[in-house]
């Protein structure tokens, strides 16, 4: 009996969690007028190819300038660029902090640590002004690099490096490996799983950025899918029959890659999440 209640609760949970995602997808396969009359859909409609074709390839779906495909590309650039940048910067920094004896080590550590105290959201306006001084508005580097200014990845690798047995470095030194050799030959291959885990987390984080791309990109050719959501809503206001189907299609496109990444790389994802503390 108790077992059935457990399953019932879980099923309700799954419906609550996944229901909206499924409905969004189903609705996106119907046409706008139908949705307008009948509301959200839970069944497959016949307009999948049409709607997605339009959203992906035709300019002018929402903004008159940019196609869904271009936004998809930008989203991937942001997601992958951010994840790779994060991993490279934080691995190097953590290596410097953990494996070298130098006077400034502790100072640097605390300077990096401090960045945890102030999320980007509370310093957007001054950050924006710095970016415009540096002429980085509407560039990919402007989109990606400032997001890298945080300690999370560094902490993650620092913890991991600290858990690597000391003897490995000692054995490597006796084997004649210097700082670079040890890093490339031993530490990087050893961190493979960690890198994969942090990549999944950071990819999703980068892909899902909203506020920063909203400020940093005015040129629509730099819009990401998530940034494009804002545009949908702006067009929305005042139209007779809003393009519900296209809005949902765009939302689906914006959700799908990160959801797939999380599902496919689930074990890495959970490892990355629970061991990196955000």
């Amino acid at each position: 009996m108790k077992k059935y209640i457990d399953h019932l609760i879980l099923i309700i949970g799954v419906v609550f969690m996944m229901g909206p995602v499924v409905v969004a997808f189903m609705t996106s396969t119907h046409d706008a007028a139908e949705i307008h009359m009948q509301g959200l859909m839970t069944t497959w409609g016949g307009h999948f190819a049409e709607t997605y074709d339009e959203v992906l390839f035709e300019k002018g779906g929402f903004t008159g300038q940019v196609t869904g495909l271009a936004m998809l590309k930008n989203s991937f650039i942001l997601g992958i660029g951010f994840a790779v940048g994060k991993i490279v910067l934080s691995m190097l920094a953590a290596y410097g902090i953990v494996y070298f004896r130098f006077r400034m080590g502790v100072v640097f550590f605390w300077m990096i640590f401090t960045t945890l105290l102030l999320p980007l959201e509370v310093r957007i306006l001054p950050s924006y002004m710095v970016m415009s001084k540096l002429h980085l508005i509407d560039t990919y580097s402007g989109l990606i690099v400032p997001l890298l200014a945080s300690a999370t990845g560094t902490f993650y690798f620092r913890q991991f490096f600290k858990s690597v047995p000391d003897e490995l470095l000692e054995a490597a030194r006796i084997d004649g490996a210097g700082p670079f050799k040890f890093f490339i030959d031993i530490l990087v291959p050893l961190s493979r799983n960690m890198v994969a885990a942090i990549f999944v987390i950071m990819f999703v984080y980068g892909w899902n950025q909203y506020l920063w791309p909203m400020l940093m990109t005015t040129d629509e050719s730099f819009f990401t899918l998530v940034r494009g959501i804002k545009q949908i809503l702006l067009v929305w206001v005042g139209s007779q029959i809003p393009d519900y189907n296209q809005a949902f299609a765009l939302a689906v496109l914006a959700m799908l890659p990160p959801i797939l990444v999380v599902i496919i790389f689930q074990s890495w994802f959970i490892k990355g999440l629970t061991e990196s503390d955000k």
């Binding site: 047995p165 003897e167 490995l168 000692e170 054995a171 490597a172 030194r173 006796i174 084997d175 004649g176 490996a177 050799k181 030959d185 031993i186 291959p189 050893l190 493979r192």
Partner: protein
């Protein structure tokens, strides 16, 4: 091949921790030296200073006549085997062994030949392509040995290489290490806290206590002539019995009993008497001293009898044949008595 000289070597860690205090050891070419002592006595620290993994606070270490205090570990021409093996987990057995040679620019063919040879010696051929994860403890241990061997170093340094193995494997690996070392003739410095391992492996033992050398000597020398109560209690199992005694003439008094000894001059006054459990005998009625049996550990051929004499706990090794009453009398072998200064614990040589 090379000799190693450790001259007045000390190590002081931050916070005034004196881990090693002015140690002197001369290791001859091809000799197998075992550093033995209780946990925290500075064995690893000393070894690591020779390896170049710790800086030497004062004194000098030389390998092959050359002072190496400032030389990088990789340039000291040594190889080290670690307690947890420190194999590179992402590399195959072959790559683990080859890594050091590759870094020194050894030609590929030569690397291959050396690895193959070591692998044959260690019977690791079937595992060449495996990752350490897929090996048993004993096999990992062998790979760690192999990694040391292929370098053909001037000296091997071992830091408790067998302590992660189970008892049986430990005994067989011990034998293998000994044989291998004899065959290669490489100078070796071996750290352990296991006195049995130390006894069986060493050409010479170095007993360390609190960062200081207590005694250096062959295993038998150390066993038969321990230089201090510390060595006496540490080397040999079951440990030597140590009893506070007062000696007048030929009479040794402890508690309310006395033992009379002939044919030997005794140090007069208060001292510590040492006697190994196997040097105590069952006495004929009336002779010797009274001993009360508390409990008995059967070992098969022999038995360890634990008990006390006049309040002093003693352990005796007796043959299993005879049945024992609770109260027995024991006698000592006069020539096997050891005397140590009551103040310093140092051996008193008569």
């Amino acid at each position: 091949m090379a000799n190693i000289q450790i001259a007045n070597v000390s190590k002081t860690y931050a916070g005034d921790i004196h881990a090693v205090k002015s140690v002197n050891i001369d290791i001859a070419d091809g000799e197998f030296i075992v550093l033995v002592g209780p946990s925290g006595c500075g064995k690893s620290t000393l070894l690591r200073m020779i390896a170049g993994l710790e800086t030497i606070t004062s004194g000098t270490a030389s390998i092959g006549g050359k002072i190496v205090n400032k030389v990088e570990p990789a340039e000291r021409d040594i190889a080290m085997v670690f307690q947890n093996y420190a194999l590179y987990p992402h590399m195959s057995v072959y790559a683990n062994m080859a890594y050091g040679l590759k870094n020194r620019g050894t030609p590929k063919a030569e690397i291959d030949a050396r690895v193959k040879e070591a692998v044959r010696m260690l019977e690791l051929e079937p595992y060449l392509d495996r990752k350490p994860r897929a090996l048993s403890g004993g096999q990992r241990q062998r790979v760690a040995m192999g990694r040391a061997i292929v370098r053909k170093p001037a000296a091997f340094l071992f830091d408790e290489p067998l302590s992660n193995l189970d008892a049986k494997l430990r005994v067989s690996m011990r034998g293998e290490i000994k044989q291998l070392q004899k065959r290669l003739g490489t100078t070796s410095l071996y750290v352990t806290h296991d006195q049995l391992e130390a006894m069986t492996l060493a050409d010479r033992l170095v007993v360390l206590n609190r960062g200081e050398v207590e005694q250096i000597g062959t295993p038998l020398d150390v066993y038969h002539n321990p230089a201090s109560t510390f060595v006496a209690g540490f080397i040999g199992s079951p440990a030597m019995n140590l009893v506070n005694v007062e000696i007048t003439g030929q009479t040794i008094a402890f508690g309310d009993q006395t033992i009379s000894v002939e044919n030997r001059t005794l140090p007069q006054g208060k001292s510590t008497l040492g006697i190994r459990p196997e040097d105590l005998r069952l006495a004929q009625d009336g002779s010797g001293f009274a001993f009360h049996v508390d409990y008995i550990e059967e070992l098969g051929a022999q038995r360890l009898v634990h008990g006390h004499a006049s309040g002093t706990p003693l352990t005796v090794t007796l043959s299993s044949e005879v049945a024992l009453p609770e109260d027995i009398r024991l006698s000592v072998l006069a020539e096997k008595l050891h005397f140590f200064s009551a103040e310093t614990g140092k051996r008193i040589t008569a």
